[in-house]
Symmetry: C2
Subunit: 399 residues, 2 copies
């Protein structure tokens, strides 16, 4: 009998009515002969409400305490879902991170799952209980509560599926993965399946459907991840290793944009001093995601470097950089949209970048920064050009 | 350097502004050279809001899950208070029940503290941190979250004071213990000190200032408990062993009323069968508080028995009694107020009961049930007579 690990996002458990609906759906699935583990996010806007509460106390809330605070959101929804299932006459039990020994490491607010104990879960499953797990949270080596970062419940679900050798299903408020955001481009196509690599690029580029670490984890352990609409029969998308690349496969499968970053440029850095690697090392050790690093050729032994960082980390990042260089050499551009195209097919099809830049140039879209990987091309463009760029590129590559 | 364990009730931490005020008060106290441990209740109406949420899911929410749900209220307030203190530049750390090994036993919703580990608390105090503890919660022998019952944070605070050999201060929205409820009798007098026994009687009789188990615990280990208004200089009341009873001491120190119970009467029980002790044993094993048990003399070998139970436990209690006797023999009276006078002085002063009954009789107040102990007299009267009775008795005994 297979174990199914389902995850329901915040919008799927936003009200008591929706929680009851999830309970019914989970029970129906159990009746088909599966052992059910359900990971839940916090109800609706609970996490944002708790953050507002913290901001009412402090402009820069202590990170340990913020994690302790935020973890309560998932405890509430998991207890309520277990109650709902029991009220319908089926056995259920909720567990917090503490109770299943969900061990984490790293920073508060963006900790990483190290391991978890499956004894309690397995015992409860053997007793035919539906096991409900509070997602998003863990306990670090000194016994503090930590959280996994926004969307972290996805990673909780995949980690549990890995440990239980189960199937993983992520239920959310979208009915699958699209080639590009259907809210931004109405002709966007839903994918039946997508490779982990492609999904990872899309996720890291602002396709907010999934927590990217959950995809990495699924890829590492070969666990396919189904993504679909909560409590619905509509078929979603499976994220798995896509091997059957054929001649007809498209070079570009997805397009994503993100307005969540700012561009930082540092001017006139001495090339022979190791300032850059020092800056990046310190920023990296704070688990701040640096992206789109680009360096111009040296002039008089000095180089200019640009990169992007998440808006939220601006303050912390600036205070690090200022330790290494004068403030007058630091330039910030807040008006950027990261615009990316992704496709496993790019490995074998050349000229994608050239086509893209030609389209931008023909349509007066300025490109501020460019970075590429084997399967993606990302440009930073002005935010006002975003809509135009999506239409042009999606049309060109038939997304 | 002495350890002070303070407890702040829900109304004292109802808003972020009030939490900041508590933070200031605690810091000020620490600056006077004390090691500070602070136990907090859930913010304002949080517990009631969570109960409403549970009732939206189920008419009879599963008790294990309800406890898991309710425990989040105190986690929220403790994390916020720690944040507030850190924001003011002082060191603080919040702990949940899990983190300080707060072991409990007994039923969900009304569990009892067995023990707690003080290592983490002591380590943090040694580092000059203000330690914030989520009250009201514990972990039972199978690792489930349990709660201590309404007002249970008082007991959390006293238990920690006992283990740390500290001083215990309970801060709430009243400025001390009064001879009777000042909201019901405007001439009520505030007591400078009160004996544990008197306070216990008052607490069990509906003076809702304190969780009665906290007073028992203080008495058992000889820890005085100060009760006063949050963040105020107004002097409150100390609950301790009052030995210096002198000739002038009043026979009655306090008066309390409660509308939280119903009276149950069982008619025609065979005297020679052990039905009654069986009924009481089962009810007791469910941790339901039976009070005011009174039995009339047998007629034809049959007796009538009356007692009171908390309104909230009516359903559970009735289903137990029905296992032992026919429904037609059970009578319920919902229109009762428990009216009690309490005083250590009653041990040495006789005639208190006689005076009280005379006043009731002279003023047409029907007495439905009577029970007495060494230091208290309790009558069940009609709810409509409550106001009149309070005025008459408080006036008579100069309360």
């Amino acid at each position: 009998m297979s174990v199914i690990v389902q995850k329901y996002g915040g919008s799927s458990v936003a009200t008591t009515e929706k929680i009851k609906k999830v309970a019914e759906t989970v029970i129906k699935r159990q009746k088909k002969g599966h052992k059910m583990v359900v990971v839940v996010s916090a109800m609706g806007d609970t996490t944002d409400d708790l953050i507002s509460l913290a901001n009412g106390i402090s402009k820069k809330p202590d990170k340990r305490e913020l994690d302790a605070l935020l973890s309560t959101g998932e405890m509430i929804s998991s207890a309520l879902l277990a109650m709902a299932i029991k009220d319908m006459g089926y056995e259920a039990i909720s567990y917090t991170a503490y109770q299943i020994g969900m061990k984490t490491s790293g920073q508060y607010g963006k900790s990483l799952i190290e391991d978890l104990e499956v004894e309690k879960i397995n015992k409860s499953l053997k007793e035919d209980k539906i096991v409900i797990i509070a997602g998003f949270q863990g306990i670090n080596e000194i016994g503090d509560i930590t959280t996994l970062g926004r969307g972290g419940s996805d990673t909780t679900a995949v980690a549990i599926a890995v440990k239980l050798d189960g199937i993983c299903e992520i239920y959310t408020d979208v009915d699958g993965i699209y080639s590009t955001d259907p809210r931004k481009y109405s002709d966007a196509k839903k994918l039946k399946e997508i490779d982990y690599e492609e999904m990872l690029e899309l996720a890291s580029l602002g396709a907010q459907v999934m927590h990217s670490r959950s995809i990495e984890l699924g890829q590492k352990y070969g666990v396919p991840i189904y993504v679909g609409l909560s409590c619905s029969e509509i078929e979603g998308t499976v994220i798995r290793e896509v091997n059957n690349m054929n001649m007809e496969s498209k070079p570009v499968t997805g397009l994503a944009t993100s307005d969540e970053d700012i561009a930082v440029t540092i001017k006139g850095i001495e090339q022979n001093i190791n300032i850059l690697s020092n800056i990046f090392e310190v920023i990296g050790s704070r688990k701040i995601n640096i992206d789109m690093i680009s360096q111009t050729a040296p002039i008089d032994g000095k180089v200019n470097v640009s990169f992007t960082i998440p808006k939220d980390d601006t303050y912390e990042c600036m205070s690090i950089i200022k330790q290494f260089t004068e403030e007058k050499n630091i330039f910030i551009d807040k008006d950027i949209t990261k615009f990316s195209v992704v496709g496993i097919g790019m490995k074998t099809t050349s000229g994608v970048a050239a086509k893209m830049f030609k389209i931008f140039s023909d349509n007066n879209i300025d490109v501020k920064l460019i970075t590429t990987s084997e399967i993606r091309i990302t440009c930073a463009i002005k935010q006002e050009d975003k809509g135009k760029a999506i239409n042009l590129i999606a049309n060109k590559f038939n997304l």
